[in-house]
Symmetry: C3
Subunit: 260 residues, 3 copies
C-alpha cells in the first residue's frame, strides 16, 4: 500500500530510472537523479533544499544522485548535493546532509545522520543512531554501531573543524567516540564506550576512555560463536559481502536484519 | 484535530476493537488487530511490511496485535509480526521491528527502537532513545533510560547473535551498555555510562567501564528525595504501578511525564 | 515546494505574524502564536496537545509562543505550553515538551528533545540527539553536543526529580552525562563521555567517569586550529554570536552548518 501515487511530488529536472517506485507522500526536489530499480518508500524527502532556499529567491537546488537497486525506507531526508552509489539500503528517518559522497552497497540504520561533507566508501554499514560528523572519511567495509559519534571540533566551538578517518574493514562499536582528527587504521576494532584520540595503525584493538592500543586485533583471543578466531573478520563473515556468491536481489533487502 | 478520518488507510483483514481511534495520515496494514479503546495517533504505521514486501509479489503480512486501552503517539512505526499487551503507551517516532512480544502496561519513549525478536515483560518503561537489540529479553517492571543499548554481537560482525537478559524490577540507567550475552538479575541497578559484561545476581549494584559488582543494591546508601533508603524501589515508587490503587484511565496517559 | 498550502491545518485562536510561512502537512493547534517572518517547514506540529487531550472532552490547549524570524525545519513536534524567543532555528524531528521557556537565538539540532519544565537562555546551541531532561536550566550561550543527557532522577525511579544547571558559555561535549542535581559553572567545559556529579565553579575543565575538576579551563593548554589558546572561547568564536556584526538575515539560517 506504499505505492499508490498519492501525494507524490516531483520537482523539475528529475531523472527517474527504469522501474523506480516512489512511495506516497514523498517529495523529490529539483535536480535529483535516481537509478534503475530503486525504491523510495513513503514520506521521504530526496533533495531537501539547503538553508539558502528559505531566503534566496534565486536558489537553485544542487544535484543529488541516488544509485540503482536501492531501498530507502520511509521518513528519510536526503539533502540536495550528495551522491550515493548503487545498492544503498536505509532504515527509517535517516538524515543525510549535503556534500556527502558514498559508495555502493552501503546501509544506514534508522535515526542515523551523516552531517555532510563526508566521504564514505563501499559496503559501509552504519547501524541505528550513528552520528557521522562533517568532514568524516570512511574507507570500505566500515561498520559503525549505535550511538557512535565521529566528531570534528577540537576546541568547541571552533572556526575550523578537523574530520575523522576510519580505515577499511574497521569496526567502531557501540557508543564509541572518535575525537577530532582521530585516525583508525584498517582491520581495527574500537571497543564499546571508548573515547579515542590520535592515530592507530592497521590491525589495532583499541579500548578505554581515553582509549589505548591494547594489541594487534588479529592476535587477540576473540572467538566467535563458531569457536573460531574471528579477526580479520572477512574470513568469517560473508552475509551481504562481495566475497559471497549470493542472489543479491534477495540479499540486498534482507541482509540488514541485524544491522538496523 | 488528530481524528478527522483524513488519509487514514486500512488494509485487509484488519480488526479494530470498540472505540478505536485512528489519527490522520496513519496506515494500518493487512492483518493487524487493535484492541478496544486504543488510540493510534496521527502519522503512524502499524504493521509495517517486512523486507520481502518490496520484491515478493506474493508477500503476506504477518499478523500484528496491539492490545486494548493503548495510546500510540504520532509518527511511530510498528513492523508486522509483533504482539503487544494492553495499556501500551508510546512517545513519538518509535520503531518496533518484527517478532517482538511485549506484555501489558509498557511504555516506550520517543525515538526508542526495539530491533525485533525480543521478549518484553509487563510494566516495562523504556525512556527516549533506547536501543533494544535483537534477541533481548526483559522481565517485568524493567526501566531503561536514554541512550542505553542492549547489544547482541560478541564479535562484530557475527553470524550468530547472543541476546541480553534483564531481570524483573531492574533499572538500566542512562547510556549504559549491556554487552552481548550479559545477564542482569532482578532488583538490580546499572549505573550511568557503565559497560557491562557477564552475569550478575539479583540485587546487584553494577557500575564502571568495565562494570563490576559494587555491592548489594539494597545495602547501598542510596536515599531518595524523601530521605528514605530507595531500593528495592517498589516500596517507594507507585506511580502507574499495579500496587497502587489508581484510576488507570487517568494514569495511563499522564504517568509517563518523566519517562518520555 | 514546501509552501503550497496543501494540508495545512490551523486551529482556533492562532495568531500568525506578518510574513509567516507554514509548510505543507503542518498542523498548528489551538492557541498558538507565531512571530513575524517565521518559517514553519513541512510536516511540523506546533502546539501538540498534552496527554489529557486524549481523554478529556473539555481539554483546552495551553498557549504556545514561537518568536519572530525563526526557522523550524520539517517533522518537528512542539508541545503546547512552551515559549520560544526570536531567531530560533531547528533541525528536523526535534521534540519539545510543555513548560519549556527558551530565549532568543537558540538552535536545536535534529532528533534533539527537550523534555519540558526547562529554562533555556539565549543563544543556546543544542546539536543533534541531545536529551534535555525535565527541570533542566541552561544559561546563555550554552552549547551541548550529540548524545549528551541532562538527567534528573537521583534514585530511578523517583517521585521527585532534581534538575541540572549549566552556566553561561559552558560547553557540554559529546556523550557527557550530567547526573541529577549537577551544577556546572560558567565558562566551563565537560569533556566527551564524562559522567558528572556535584557542583563545579566557573572556568572548570571537567573530565572523567566519574568526572573530576581537572583545572581552570582558561589555564589548560587547549589550542585551536589557529594556534591560539581557545578558552574563554567568546574571544575566538564569533559565528552567529552577538559580538559579531553580521547580516543576521543571512547568518541565522546558515550558521548552524556544523551545529545540527
Amino acid at each position: 500500500m506504499k505505492f499508490n501515487n498519492i501525494h507524490v511530488t516531483i520537482g523539475e529536472n528529475v531523472t527517474l530510472g527504469k522501474n523506480v517506485k516512489i512511495g506516497d507522500n514523498s517529495i523529490i526536489y529539483d535536480n535529483v537523479q535516481i537509478g534503475d530499480n530503486t525504491i523510495i518508500s513513503n514520506d521521504c524527502v530526496i533533495g531537501e533544499p539547503l538553508s539558502s532556499y528559505y531566503y534566496d529567491e534565486n536558489y537553485i537546488n544542487p544535484p543529488t544522485i541516488i544509485g540503482s537497486d536501492s531501498l530507502i525506507r520511509s521518513h528519510c531526508i536526503f539533502y540536495a548535493g550528495s551522491e550515493f552509489g548503487d545498492f544503498l539500503v536505509t532504515g527509517h528517518r535517516i538524515t543525510v546532509h549535503e556534500k556527502t559522497i558514498a559508495g555502493h552497497h552501503c546501509m544506514f540504520g534508522s535515526y542515523t545522520s551523516v552531517h555532510g561533507f563526508c566521504k564514505i566508501g563501499n559496503y559501509n554499514r552504519f547501524h541505528s543512531y550513528v552520528s557521522i560528523g562533517m568532514l568524516s572519511e570512511c574507507g570500505d567495509f566500515v561498520f559503525i554501531y549505535p550511538f557512535v559519534v565521529l566528531t570534528n571540533d577540537p576546541t568547541p566551538p571552533s572556526n575550523k573543524l578537523i574530520g575523522v578517518k576510519v580505515g577499511d574493514y574497521s569496526q567502531i562499536t557501540t557508543s564509541a567516540i572518535l575525537l577530532p582528527g582521530c585516525e583508525i587504521g584498517k582491520h581495527s576494532l574500537v571497543s564499546a564506550n571508548s573515547t579515542v584520540n590520535g592515530k592507530f595503525p592497521d590491525d589495532s584493538f583499541i579500548s578505554g576512555a581515553p582509549a589505548k592500543f591494547i594489541g594487534k586485533l588479529s592476535k587477540m583471543p576473540f572467538f566467535n560463536t563458531e569457536n573460531k578466531k574471528h579477526y580479520p573478520w572477512p574470513k568469517n563473515f560473508k552475509r551481504g559481502m562481495p566475497w559471497e556468491c549470493i542472489d543479491l536481489s534477495e540479499e540486498k533487502f534482507s541482509s540488514q536484519k541485524n544491522d538496523m
